[in-house]
Amino acid sequence: MNCFFTVVGLCLCIFVFCALYRAIFGPGVFNRVAAISAIGTKTLVLLLIFGLLYERVDMFIDISMVYALLNFIGCVAAAKYLESQGGIE
């Protein structure tokens, strides 16, 4: 079972790096915000898998919960700021 979790975590790492390409080279601010939100979502699952691998889920689950809240609040705050800012490029 540990081997299966390791494979799932490695696949998630590959997806994070694929989304990082969009976050770095993506044209405009909005593509970057969408890519950062997707990266945060993948990191949330990755943290729980780390917790299962290290046998300390009870500690990692609180970190994961805080990460979910911060990801949501950051995305909504960036949307509000960019909406009030007006122009994009």
Partner: protein, 104 residues
């Protein structure tokens, strides 16, 4: 016990598949709105399936309950964030992508 582990493996593989489709959509689609369409829906379902699988693996305990709480929160929060960022893009003047005609 074995049934729970089997359910966990099936749910995690389903979540991994939807993560893969969301990432491919984020890389390959031509426009901001189409990319947001791929990553908004795909990531929501993938997070729900993955966390459900981890909760199946963990079993009935406080940790499993917390994982289910995170899954429900993400199921509400992710479409809200997607809607907010897409409305900000629409109001600040991004135009949706159109397929151009061959003539012209």
């Amino acid at each position: 016990m074995t049934l729970m582990i089997l359910m966990a493996i099936i749910c995690l593989l389903g979540g991994l598949f939807f993560f893969a489709t969301a990432t491919i959509g984020l890389l390959r689609f031509p426009d901001f709105f189409t990319r947001l369409h791929a990553t908004g829906k795909g990531d929501t379902l993938a997070v729900f399936l993955s966390l459900l699988g981890l909760a199946f693996y963990e079993g009935f305990s406080l940790t499993g309950l917390k994982i289910v709480i995170i899954a429900v929160f993400m199921f509400i929060a992710q479409p809200t964030a997607t809607h907010a960022i897409s409305r900000a893009g629409m109001r600040s003047g991004l135009t949706p992508w159109m397929k151009e005609k061959k003539e012209q």
